[in-house]
């Protein structure tokens, strides 16, 4: 099993927590980007859509195709996701946004029928290489789901669960407080850390799930429609939180709320459903990936334009 390489600036605490030493010697290049021995980033970068951004990619996705039981769900997706930015994935229901985002931390492994082709390089390391352990991947790449899914435990134990199973050392009380502060929840719950998380409001539960994901000190936060089950005020809280978080984390968010994508994200990928003429089977593809402002004001694909201006979808 091979350790997924980490960002150089990640704390030694997180490094020891991941349960192994540093990555293979000599694979860490400058400016926070790491490359595996066999990868040549310049060569692949040219082939993929690459808007002008200043920070290095955290994910380089190449020809990613996901099938469920042989049926195509997401086809041939290639683009780079930039570090410390918020990347929005938009598109109509069923176009494979969830499937795609779940392939970034190998959550699709949990679905027995799902198969993945192509590659997702995370700091240069292909997550689907045979030596990579999916559990190690998820330690570095956190995820928040559409419906808040707190564990039926106290608020404290919800946060502490991740650090405990990863065997992170350090003062647990401090880790819990830090995570709750990052999740913008500390002030609301500091007096009732031992109460059951099921007693919180939906918005608080979702921020708890975000804080829970942050407690293990990940590098990336994947969010699949994190606000779609919440009221507007809670949604506002989550959006504010995302702005704070992008200082430290790379964030990928699925949303079908156009305004939300426009408000929070730096980059936007537009997914659409493509219908196969012969079989009538539907699958998702990325038709446009660019800076959010460009996608929303001056899209280059007419399907994107139709979607963002609200004519379809």
């Amino acid at each position: 099993m091979k350790q997924v390489t980490e960002r150089p600036e990640s704390s030694s605490e997180a490094r020891s927590a991941a349960g192994a030493g540093p990555g293979p010697a000599g694979t860490q290049a400058h400016n926070g980007r790491t490359t595996g021995p066999g990868t040549a980033p310049a060569a692949t970068g040219a082939a993929t859509t690459k808007p002008s951004v200043d920070t290095p990619p955290v994910f380089e996705i190449e020809k990613l195709t996901v099938r469920y039981g042989g049926k195509l769900a997401v086809h041939d997706v290639s683009f780079d996701i930039t570090e410390k930015r918020i990347t929005a994935l938009i598109g109509a229901s069923g176009c494979g946004k969830s499937t795609f985002i779940r392939s970034l931390n190998r959550m699709n492994d949990l679905i027995p029928s799902a198969t993945v082709e192509g590659s997702v390089r995370y700091h240069g390391q292909n997550l689907y290489a045979s030596e990579v352990d999916a559990v190690q991947v998820r330690k570095r790449i956190g995820m928040v789901f559409q419906k808040p899914n707190p564990f039926p435990k106290s608020i404290y134990d919800n946060i502490a669960f991740g650090p405990r199973v990863l065997g992170m050392d350090g003062n647990m009380d401090e880790m819990v407080e830090r995570a709750l502060r990052r999740g913008a929840l500390w002030d609301e719950v500091k007096d009732r850390l031992k109460t059951n998380a099921f007693g919180m409001s939906g918005g608080q539960q979702q921020r708890l799930c975000i804080a829970r994901a942050l407690a293990t000190d990940p590098d990336v936060l994947l969010m699949d429609e994190p606000a779609s089950a919440l009221d507007p005020i809670s949604t506002g809280h989550i959006e504010d939180l995302m702005f704070e978080l992008k200082e430290r984390y790379s964030i990928v968010i699925v949303t079908h709320n156009m305004q939300q994508a426009a408000r929070v994200s730096d980059m936007t990928a537009f997914f659409t459903v493509v219908v196969d003429e012969a079989s009538g089977h539907r699958h998702g593809e990325v038709v446009e990936y660019d800076e959010t402002e460009k996608v929303f004001t001056n899209p280059s694909d007419e399907r994107t334009e139709a979607y963002v201006t609200g004519r379809v979808g």
Binding site: M107, V135, P152, V165, A213
Partner: protein, 300 residues
Amino acid sequence: MSVAEAPAARAVVRGSSSGARLREILFPAALLLCIGFAMLTLVVLLVDVAVDGIPVLSGEFITGFPSQIFPERSGIQSALVGTLLLMAVCAVFIVPVGTATAIYLEEYADNNRWWNRLIEVNIQNLAAVPSIVYGILGLAFLVRGPLELGRVVLAGALTLGLLVLPVVIIVGREAIRAVPSSIREGSMALGATQWQTIWKQVLPGALPGIATGVILALSRAIGETAPLIVVGAASFARFNPNDLTSDPFSALPIQILAWVQDPQDEFRALAAGAILVLLFLLLLMNAGAIYLRNRFEQKW
């Protein structure tokens, strides 16, 4: 809506035929009658047993050993101890085996594999196999046969365990299935392994349900008679088994059967007393199951 429409609407509302209304009354009445009949039978049985049994209940009845000659000096100590030992050993056997099987079938087994489907069908069918067949199995494989345990508590408890294992597995699977997959995903997304997820999230969530299943299974096992007869439980044990693997043992249902078959009325009264003790244990277990369910069951 205009005022003119109102009478017409009222006519529609009133329009159900008297026949339909009669059915509305008769059907629940018939249901009630059925329940009443079942309850009545139960009450008559209980009263009958209580009338015969309560007079014999006493400290000596609980602590005494059975006698074939003197009903007034007879007691159920060896049968009660045998039953409690059987239940304890049975629980020690079915909890880990039943839980492990339920976890395997729910969390690991790939239903596309024929052997997993075979296991599943087997378990469902095993739940319906007559208990005497388990007794014969116990006799052939545990008492004699490869294990050669003899007519001891361990053999009886394992036989009862095999008999009720399907119940534990089926109820356990339901409890495990009731833990939502979002909990598993949340745990796995934090970097927990599948085993950590099962051990720290799924099992704690399913535990009240599993415990309820175990109690229900034991309350079936406690009344089983036929398999114990086959594996050779003693009808009149004049001492308690000292251990699980060498001494003969008795059990309440066996003792009851022996007394019921006795021509002397005094002995049949003892049977009624023993039935009351057995019923009390049964009620205790069911109360425990209800308490567990109400107190600890997770609402997702």
